[in-house]
Symmetry: C2
Subunit: 334 residues, 2 copies
């Protein structure tokens, strides 16, 4: 591998995304991308006693499916990179504790899926691994309870708020294979422009997405038009518009080939999800389902996936802190 | 780099630990290792309004000190790997948000310091980075409040309990340098033998330490006697004894060259810390202070550092879950 510019790494042994898998909850199953997901659940508990245990089950089953689809024996998978939104990433730890694969816990908030792909790719290109597993999850109920209010309170959600995706996305990356290939990564810096509204994560994270996008284009010498699709993770409708506007002020028009997983996953008109989807699984499931199939069918050939994360918690919000954002990008090409 | 056996990676470009830094709180400043720390604080707040903000300040200042000691310009540091025990790792995110270095959030509970060193070393050996920064923190007050009970309650601590270290440890790793070198890493699997007592983390984590130790010896063909010092991160007195016993049942006698950072950092007889120190900063500060100086002075030449983490949270404990453990090992040699 080779460092390009300030933040980007260009791979020599471009890792192949061998397989992906995704399982989603009931709300996502009613959305426009339902047919692309491997499994659509019809309740939020999936037979478990708590939302946290349900989330662990979702990531466990998703990982199991991704490994099965890869046709690689699980003992041939060298390392697993995973994390989630729950305090101390318990969804991943409990969901994957029986996996028996050396485990790197990752916390990038909603950028975790791409952060895991960045780390896994470096291990493969460097020669430390033949195959790695990348996974993440989120759950509307466990996230609302933890970050905002008890669901039982039934409080009203402001128009800027986003709906945490219930689900999990996982990918197996391999040293050898026929693509889609991970050709570059641009890990992001923490960016904090002072947004304090915990119900407007899109606005808090958009500046990080813009920072990483600008850096990626500068480091690689590529223009936005190089990509068939530039896709952010969970900025939602408001964050997407902010990103388009901010990129425009920097001289880049990304309107024609840019979209956001949080915009795609729900139908704004009928699903009452306000600014769209969010959560680690938003990017995880939309990429693992919809985008990966688009790549396999060659409907898109070059994708820049940028997952954004809000590095905040309930205590920091109560203590008057703003919301730092981060965005990691991965370039995926056939 | 080269994969050895099931879990270990052997480096070709063995990264040098260019500098380390550590700042500790008042209790640690009264302990036997006080003279090895860069800065000893005399109160838990360090002028901040909350314990969380104090912890962020501690990691921020520690990182700043590690970079200054490395004599490497911060813009020459390619990536930062950091995490902590607070929900959503806010100590690291807030403490390092002005760092302006691409950031990988890591969650390995108390194994975070070594997990960060593992990831950073792979980036360096692979050619993706010239210099990386690894950091972690913990704080007795913020951890007690979050994981156990309000400090104001003044509840009694059982004899198996450990005392979370207030402090931060940081290290700068570089492609070129005169050592100490990171020669191997053995990232661990999640191991859960069913311990449910949140006041006995040593017992919960010891099986993971043993699993990683056995794997490391098998993968590398080394015997425990190869190392001058085998050092676990925060098993404390009870976890240390369990580890010695379990290793013995597997045919390894590690008694003569094995110790634990949680045993070393406090004086059991006078400091009322029961089973010893714990927390991300336990391994982070003891390594960055005491052990790194021992290496520099060639009092030890070969160290196997194994940081252990308990992958649990307050909710999982309330929901009757056991405590999964993990242990990551890094081999450091002159």
């Amino acid at each position: 591998m080779q460092k390009l510019g300030m933040q980007t790494i260009k791979f020599d042994v471009t890792p192949t995304i061998t397989s992906t898998a995704c399982i989603v909850g009931p709300k996502e199953s009613d959305g426009p991308l339902a047919s692309y997901f491997d499994k659509c659940l019809d309740d939020e508990f999936w037979g478990e006693e708590t939302w946290e245990k349900a989330e662990s089950k979702i990531i466990k089953e998703t990982v199991s499916l991704a490994v099965a689809k890869s046709k690689i024996a699980s003992q041939e998978i060298d390392y697993c990179f995973a994390g989630d939104l729950l305090n101390q990433c318990i969804s991943s730890s409990f969901g994957l504790r029986e996996l028996n694969i050396p485990f790197f816990g990752v916390f990038g908030a909603c950028s975790t899926f791409v952060e895991s792909m960045c780390l896994g790719s470096v291990f493969i290109d460097g020669g430390g691994a033949q195959n790695v597993l990348c996974a993440t999850s989120s759950h509307f109920c466990s996230a609302e309870k933890q970050f905002r209010f008890p669901l039982e309170l039934g409080n009203q959600r402001p128009p800027t708020s986003q709906w945490t995706v219930t689900g999990s996305g996982a990918a197996v990356l391999s040293k050898s294979g026929n693509g889609p290939y991970i050709t570059h990564i641009t890990p992001g810096k923490i960016v904090d422009l002072g947004i304090k509204d915990a119900n407007n994560m899109g606005a808090a994270m958009a500046p990080a997405a813009v920072d990483t996008l600008l850096t990626h284009f500068k480091d690689t010498g590529r223009a936005p038009s190089y990509y068939d699709l530039i896709l952010t993770g969970d900025l939602g409708h408001i964050g997407k518009e902010i990103t388009i506007d901010m990129m425009k002020t920097h001289g880049y028009n990304i309107k024609s080939n840019y979209n956001d997983c949080g915009v795609l996953i729900f139908d704004k008109a009928t699903q009452d999800t306000h600014s769209g989807g969010s959560g680690c699984a938003c990017c995880g499931t939309v990429f693992s389902g919809y985008v990966f199939q688009q790549l396999q069918q060659k409907k898109v050939q070059k994708v820049l996936l940028i997952a954004t994360g809000a590095l905040t918690n309930a205590t920091s919000a109560q203590q008057g802190e703003s919301i730092p954002g981060i965005a990691h990008a991965v370039s995926i090409e056939l």
